[in-house]
């Protein structure tokens, strides 16, 4: 087994998930930036445009507001196209937190390492959130 590194973060929504990283440099709105029926990112987000968020550990700086965001995250989940986990720099909007709880998608924020240096697209990440403690496990670089 390859050596792992562990990065601490703040736990927002409890749970455990594992998947390949998808790292966006821009803020994401679940209303409008993603096609619910495919999981493809269709918004004006140059770093991830055209990529699918399905099954990924989605890493991005913060959520852009829409009070309806919970429903679109929940719809992504119901249509089988949701990310398996969210990791953000700042706490996501309350609506996104609610959508994640409803869809059992663990969420962590404020990891102890800069988002850009945290992972590259495709790196396998395991996220464990228990209470207010979150741990990201990645293969060592």
């Amino acid at each position: 087994m390859p050596a792992e590194r562990e990065i601490a973060a703040r736990g927002i929504v409890e749970g455990t998930a594992r998947g390949p990283a998808l790292v966006a440099a821009e803020a994401i709105s679940f209303l409008g930036d993603v096609d619910i029926l495919s999981g493809t990112i269709v918004g004006d987000l140059p770093s991830v445009h055209g990529k699918s968020m399905r099954g990924t550990v989605l890493i991005f700086p913060y959520t852009r507001g829409s009070a309806g965001a919970w429903r679109f995250l929940h719809q992504l989940h119901k249509h089988g196209n949701a990310p398996v986990a969210l990791v953000t720099a700042s706490v996501p909007d309350p609506s996104v937190v609610q959508g994640a709880i409803l869809s059992r998608i663990p969420v962590a924020c404020a990891p102890a390492q800069d988002l850009a240096a945290l992972a590259s697209d495709g790196d396998m990440i395991e996220l464990v959130v228990s209470g207010e403690r979150a741990t990201l496990r990645l293969a060592r670089r």
């Binding site: 929504v13 029926l37 507001g65 429903r71 929940h74 249509h79 706490v91 309350p94 609610q98 709880i101």
Partner: protein, 426 residues
């Protein structure tokens, strides 16, 4: 997060599975936003369960199945079809049947099946300092800014709050967030709800998630105008609250709105900025249109009377549809007053429970494919609300023609678009 004995008992499941699930969600939400404790709420405006989204009605049915009951007065938000007069908007029958399942579940739980974005016109009027929550941001901003209640822009968890009677204490439940962040001074002549919605839309773009304070209105805006202002602000920005000194409790004077601090330099809004919002939503004023819509947010009885005055004894042009959306509660009052008969005699369709962007005209929905929902082709919609305009553009994905209420009705009567910017008004 500190919980009372009763809250802890709900979390531990000693008051049933529904309250346990609801409290567990609220506690996680509260932790995420550093809420020190819960507040007791007095009112909630909650999710309908929407038939145009896969398994979304089931979210509400699941709660009813678990035995959930509303612990506080709870009104239900807009749904995806008119559950009674659905044929007139061409809704698929399967969609209607699914939507009615949500209605049954709400009845079982003791919700008020208002199915509206303006529950205040249906009798829900939370008062000063009432903690509450709302899934509809227009309701949040009206209740914070006009009634002085305390609400965040919320999501699904508004129903959890209604079931437990609790909400985590953060955001607009705290005094520290209920103060002005920007000062808006306007000398523009504002007349009617469409102008106020345009003002809100313009200011919302600059206000972020702050609290704009309005100074300089020539008159106290009407309740309908205040509602339109809030809807505009909540649409283009993340605004949850505005302050009009002398209107918004408890801010009697401008100085109170900034908690005694010196107000920032004002953002000055003139008529040119209001006109620019109409222009923004009329990219091609000669566009062919299918539907003229008024009643966003859902019309009050005052607005229904206004439409009747404009339409009485007249008839809309052939090939034109005029949709008037309101709540079923206001519709009932308007029926009793003979207003609906007058509107329908003029050829208008009076629609409850839903509106153009919330029904099967929207292209951004994700229903169960088995429902067979196919959005009909729409060329353009004429509207009198900047909120509806924004979402017609984003969700129905067709052209918009934004104008005033009187001009929208005139458009329906003549079959030709009448601009708010017509030379006669400039």
């Amino acid at each position: 997060m500190r919980l009372s004995d009763h809250e802890q008992a709900m979390l531990d499941g000693r008051h049933g599975a529904a309250k346990q699930r609801a409290m567990a969600g609220l506690v996680q939400l509260g932790r995420a936003f550093d809420a020190p404790r819960m507040v007791e709420i007095g009112y909630a405006h909650i999710h309908a369960g929407m038939a145009l989204y896969l398994d979304d009605v089931e979210l509400i049915e699941d709660l009813a199945q678990l035995g959930a009951k509303m612990a506080v007065p709870a009104s239900v938000n807009v749904a995806n079809t008119d559950m009674k007069n659905w044929r007139q908007i061409g809704a698929p029958e399967k969609l209607v049947r699914l939507q009615r399942r949500a209605e049954s579940a709400h009845h079982k739980m003791g919700s008020n099946c208002a199915f509206t974005c303006t529950p205040y016109w249906a009798g829900h009027w939370p008062t000063w300092n009432t903690h509450m929550t709302s899934i509809e941001s227009t309701v949040t901003i009206f209740c914070n800014s006009v009634l002085g209640a305390r609400s965040n822009r919320d999501g699904f968890f508004a129903v959890y709050a209604a079931i437990t009677g609790r909400y985590p204490m953060f955001g607009y439940h705290l005094d520290v967030n209920r103060r002005g962040t920007i000062l808006v001074r306007t000398d523009a002549r504002l007349d009617g709800t469409s102008d106020f919605s345009a003002l809100g839309f313009h200011v919302g773009r600059m206000a972020g998630d702050g609290v704009p304070v309005f100074d300089g209105f020539a008159n106290r805006p009407s309740l309908d105008e205040l509602d339109a202002l809030g809807a505009g602000l909540a649409t283009s920005g993340g605004v949850s609250m505005f302050i009009v000194p002398g209107v918004t409790p408890p801010f009697a004077a401008l100085a109170d709105a900034f908690a005694g601090e010196r107000p920032p330099d004002p953002l000055v809004v003139s008529r040119a900025e209001i006109d620019a919002v109409y222009d923004y939503f009329c990219p091609s004023p000669a566009a062919k249109f299918d539907i003229v819509h008024v009643g966003c947010p859902h019309a009050s009885l005052e607005e229904m009377k206004h439409y009747a005055r404009l339409l009485s004894g007249k008839r809309i042009a052939d090939g034109t549809e005029l949709w008037i959306s309101t709540s079923r509660g206001v519709r009932r009052s308007a029926e009793e007053a003979g207003i609906v008969r007058e509107l329908e005699a003029a050829g208008a369709k009076v629609i409850s429970d839903t509106c153009p962007i919330s029904c099967h005209l929207a292209r951004t929905v994700s229903p169960d494919p088995a429902l067979g929902v196919v959005p009909p082709p729409i060329k353009a919609v004429v509207i009198d609300s900047a909120k509806q305009a924004k979402y017609v553009r984003d969700m129905i994905q067709c052209a918009t023609l934004l104008t005033g209420t009187e001009e929208a009705v005139e458009t329906a009567l003549t079959g030709r678009f009448v601009s708010r910017r017509a030379p006669a008004r400039v």
